[in-house]
Each structure stands twice: as C-alpha cells, then as structure tokens.
Amino acid sequence: MTQNIQNKDIKIVGKLHSKAQFVAIVGVMAAFAAILSYIETIIPFSIWIPGVKLGLANIAIVVILCLYGAREAFAVNIVRILVVGLLFGNMFSISFSLAGALISFAVMVLAKKTDLFTIIGISVTGGVAHNLGQMIVASVVIETYSVVYYMPALMIAGVITGIIIGMVGKIILKYMTKIVKNKR
C-alpha cells in the first residue's frame, strides 16, 4: 500500500517545473555524489581487480533516477565525474571512470524503463554493468583478453555492491519523496 502511494507521489513530483528547481536539485545531488565518491577514495576496499568499485556515488544517481528521471540523473552523473576527476584524479582516471559510469547509467535507465524492478534491482544492474563495462574498457586499453578471467568475480562484486547501494538508496528515496511531497 505504502509503495503505491509512494509511486503516485513520484509521478506527481516526476517533472521538475522550473529551470531553477532543476539546477538546485542537480547541484545538491551532484555535491552529495561527489562527497560519496570522495569517501570511496579514502576507504580501503579489498578487491583490487581493475574496475571493481563500491560505487557509493551510485546511491545518489539511482535515487535521482527513481525520483525524477534519466535527464536529471544524467546531469548529476556528469557534474559528479568532472568534479571528482578534477579534484582527486587525473585524466586517466577521469576517462576510465567515465566509461564505467556511462555504461552503468545507460543500463540503469533501461532497467528503470522496463518498470520490472525495484530500486534494488535497478542498482544491481548498474553495479554489474559498471564492473563488466570497466573490464571491457580495460581489455581494450591493454589489448588483451586476460581480463576475462576476472569476469565472475566482477559480476558477483557488482551484485553485492548493487544490493547494498540499492538498499541504502531505497531508504533515502523514501525520505526524499516525503520531503518533496511536504513542500507542495
């Protein structure tokens, strides 16, 4: 029951009416995503296969994707990657993470469009797509298929991180929906 009410709210909220509102929401969520990316760079994470990331920033992306839509989430994603890349990375890490982020984003938008999954399922598709995408990019960069041996580990890691991020995202989505609803 609650979920139905929530879905209705999301539909009402679904369109950002003014440019100012768009800029504000994108700005806040991009800042949130950038902080999450930064936190991720300082936590030691034990699977050091190229491409595996916790993908904390995906919390912000998946929430805004479910709350508003692909356009808003895309803007947040781009701003986040540029800000994080310029602050904490180099050209190599920017272009490399851009590839994974875009692949994961495209898959999540499709998963959302099918209307088959909850935010957890959407986040899982994103996590797996991110890791496999990075793997493919890595194999092109080093011109070797050796990376294929990491595929099972990358998929499982994507599923696990996707579930965790989806669960956190679900909680945040619930509160954000409430906040946006009360405002109106």
Binding site: F96, T118, P152
Partner: protein
C-alpha cells in the same frame, strides 16, 4: 502492494540469474584439467609479448624482474607478485599473488599484463581468442 511484490520477485530472479551466470563462467574459466606441468610467465605491454620466463614452483626460487616502465615483478616460492610500481593508482601491487594457469596481474596505467600460461595451451592460443588480440 501486489505490483511491488512482483518487482521484488523480479529483483530476486535478476540476482539469481546473474549469480548463476557468474558460476557458469567460473566453471568454464577455472575448472580446467589441472595438469599444468610447464607454465610460462609472460609479460605483455600494450598487448605485445615482451618477455617470457619459465615458471618455477621451487621453494628457494627467487627472481626479480625490473621493467623499464617502472614495474618490478617478483617470483618467490612459486608465487608471482608486483613488488614495486610507479603507476598512479598502484592497483597492480594490491592485486596480490598469482600462481595458476590463466591468472594475471594487470597494471592498467602502464598497459602491462603479467600472466601465467600453461605451455601446451599457449601452443594453440594464437587463435583461441582468449589471449592476445589480433593487431
């Protein structure tokens, strides 16, 4: 409520499919006949085979391979690992030790691959698609 339950069910199906796919891939990639008698340590830069070494599992065997690009590979007690690297991310050092056929250590910023290959397999690997990409 019903629609939501259906979505949760779909989530679970999705997760199961992904896990099964990973398990199947695991089976095909790792559970090959483990009769690796002669293995070769191969070093590839930019997809090109630069150097090869015979791999030894001897306990006292120690070898340090320093590459011009700034990576140092060590073979010790049958384990191969990246000892030093001046790449920006240092992920190759954190990948740890390898000792089995098909395993590799990858330094992405330097486009370096260090891998173990069973020799018999390598003989036909030129066109089995799993190794070096055609240039």
């Amino acid at each position: 409520m019903k629609a939501n339950n259906k979505k949760i069910r779909n989530d679970i199906i999705l997760i199961c499919i992904l896990c099964v796919t990973a398990a199947v891939a695991c089976f095909f990639l790792y559970f090959k006949a483990d009769n690796a008698e002669k293995m070769q340590l191969q070093i590839l830069i930019d997809g090109e085979l630069i150097e090869t070494y015979d791999y030894s599992t001897d306990e006292d065997f120690y070898k340090e391979i320093a590459l011009d690009i700034g990576n140092t590979i060590v073979v010790e007690n049958g384990q191969i690992y990246m000892k030093e690297a001046n790449c920006p991310d240092g992920l190759c050092i954190k990948q740890g030790e390898i000792s089995k056929d098909g395993q590799s250590i990858i330094c992405l910023p330097h486009k370096l691959v260090v891998r173990l290959v069973e020799l018999s397999r390598d003989n036909f690997s030129e066109n089995d698609g799993l190794d070096v990409m055609p240039r």
